[in-house]
């Protein structure tokens, strides 16, 4: 028997839960409607071309799409090992006091507004890269095309490193929690079998925490894909695709941040809506892939089997 209170409760919570899909649906509908003229007009050229010339009505966001994926993936590649290592130190190796301080500092990193990261990136990171790192990479550039070409400072690499710093706290916080959640008995069992501390970590703790860590990385990747202001300030905002990470580039979100305020032409506006839609699709796709990855790890071998 369901009472009136239960019914009201169910209706309220149901309504609250419906807000999320409704909002997503609404955003998608608005974007599709707004982007329709550009989609019909430019079609696949929107992602295939890298010529973005609003004055002449050519809209190709290919360079921005690649820049978005490249900077985010690179950021995750840097932040994931760093974050997991920080989490391991915080949970397993550091004493209680140091551990508390480390955790607090890492959480503090997440609380810094992105515009502050951007200012720091433009005022400190980019000049540092230009004067210290890039000249040292120059000899490498002759052999590795990823590091070739003229280096001004604002670049894909600068954006990726800044993003890495920004998503680091997410990776760290999630990893910390899941590593701490691995049962104590599992550690003790490993140690009892004669494992060293490192072997215990490798064989008993990290495998158990693996899907959680992957989830944290996926969350961080989602955040990196959408990050706007900080990236805009260090990436150089140029619709170019080159092999070099030291060359300036663009991201979809930076493109929106830069051009939306001043776009007055209908076609320009439609193209920007299409870019927003593209960003939404990319984010959803990446999230779906990451979720699939997490699920495949979870449903695969259990942690104990992995630990043997």
């Amino acid at each position: 028997m369901i009472g009136a209170g239960d019914r009201a409760w169910r209706a309220t919570t149901g309504l609250a839960a419906a807000v999320i899909p409704a909002a997503l649906l609404l955003v998608t509908v608005v974007l599709v409607v707004g982007a329709w003229p550009a989609l019909a007009d430019a079609g696949p050229g929107l992602v295939a071309s890298r010529t973005w010339d609003p004055g002449r009505g050519t809209f190709g966001a290919g360079a921005a799409l690649v820049g978005t994926l490249l900077t985010s993936l690179l950021a995750v590649l840097v932040a994931a090992p760093l974050g997991v290592a920080t989490a391991v130190v915080t949970v397993e190796l550091a004493g209680p006091r140091l551990s508390r301080v480390l955790a607090a500092l890492s959480d503090l990193l997440a609380a810094v507004p992105s515009i502050v990261y951007g200012l720091w990136g433009a005022a400190v990171l980019v000049p540092l890269l230009r004067s210290e790192l890039f000249p040292r990479l120059k000899p490498l550039g002759r052999v590795i095309p990823l590091l070739a070409g003229p280096a001004y400072g604002p670049s894909l690499l600068a954006a990726a490193l800044l993003l890495a710093l920004m998503i680091l706290p997410y990776v760290t916080a999630v990893s910390r929690e899941v590593i701490a959640a691995v049962p104590r008995s599992q550690r003790e069992a490993a140690l009892a079998l004669g494992a060293t501390r490192w072997e215990m970590l490798r064989d008993a703790v990290l495998p158990g925490a693996r899907h959680g860590i992957l989830g944290g990385v996926a969350l961080a990747l989602g955040r990196a894909l959408g990050e706007t202001m900080a990236v805009t300030m260090v990436i150089g905002n140029r619709h170019d695709l080159s092999w070099s990470l030291l060359s300036p580039g663009y991201t979809l979100s930076s493109l929106l941040a830069n051009e939306f305020g001043e776009a007055s032409g209908d076609r320009h506006l439609a193209a920007l809506m299409a870019v927003a839609l593209l960003l939404l699709v990319v984010t959803l796709l990446v999230n779906a892939v990451a979720r699939g990855l997490v699920r495949s790890v979870r449903s695969g071998r259990s942690s104990l089997e992995v630990a043997r």
């Binding site: 010529t51 973005w52 010339d53 609003p54 004055g55 002449r56 050519t58 433009a122 005022a123 980019v126 000049p127 230009r130 003229p150 001004y152 400072g153 604002p154 805009t232 300030m233 150089g236 905002n237 140029r238 619709h239 300036p248 930076s254 941040a257 830069n258 051009e259 939306f260 305020g261 001043e262 776009a263 007055s264 209908d266 320009h268």
Partner: protein, 361 residues
Amino acid sequence: MTPPLSRQRFAALLVGVVLAACAPKDASVDDAAPAPAGGTSIDLTGAGATFPYPLYSRWFSEYATKTGVRINYQSIGSGGGIRQLREGVVDFGASEAPLTDAEIAAIPRGKVLQVPAVVGGVVMVYNLGDGVPELKFTADVIADIYLGRITRWNDPRIAALNAGVSLPAQDILVVYRADGSGTTYVFTDWLTRVSADWARGPGHGKDIRWPVGIGAKGNEGVAGQVKTTPWTIGFVELAYATQNRLPSAALRNRAGFFVAPTAGALAAAAQGVEKRLPGPDDFRVSLVDTPVPDAYPLASFSWLLFFAEQTDADKGRKLVDFLRWAVRTGQTSATILDYAPLPQPLVQQILAALDRVTIGG
């Protein structure tokens, strides 16, 4: 009797602080926070260009103190301002680039009137380390730098214009506006006029495809990039060069003189402009590269946009009254904020055009 810090006073103070923080310079502008009684109702709303915001906010605050008419202005960018005007969200828009006939025709709500509010300037800024004196440039050299044809600071063509200056043997790093902007509109107007290759290539507009360089957002972004990066060159509105203490180049004008960006040289650019107007209610004249001997070549009007037919009689009257005040009394504040006042004969023509605005359907 009011308590020492009533809620209203506090709100006014807060608004003052926020405005002062937003205004690039002259924070004293907002000391006279809107005082008149009558709650917080807003009489007119506007939206648009970010650059004239310091001047406009000063105008609105002075005007509110004087007349009690409150004007709320959001500096969301001229594109956004024009959109909001078209949709009837705001009573007036502001832009650094005027609408074309086709753009006006595409606005179904009615005929849009565009009047100049003030004269502004775009300057070339550069970073060659400390102690480099004022450089001189011509438009064709700037065009070739921005086309990627002149790539070194010690290029013979730059050296020829700057005898006696030791130019570094370094690559030039070009900085451009990544966002669409009136500043870009004025800058590319100049390059298009003097360089056939520029006209054929990147062309003239608020938002173009740049052959070389890196992009920064907003005047403050370009100024910051130039300030922090050696061997850069960029273009910004005059106030941002002054504020950031960036050296700005003297540019060769149509008469063949090298002119530094000063309020006087900006005012000279607008001299005699009233004789070149395309029509009685049409003020769309470029101030770029005018033939006046002491004119700075990169000058432009900043525009206010509104409907020639004001359906709401009360708002219409208030708007026209404000515009009359802005082009007369308001002009005195222009030079303080690195703008130049409109020439007197032009002000008379604008007043005449304002008289022709239909109010109340």
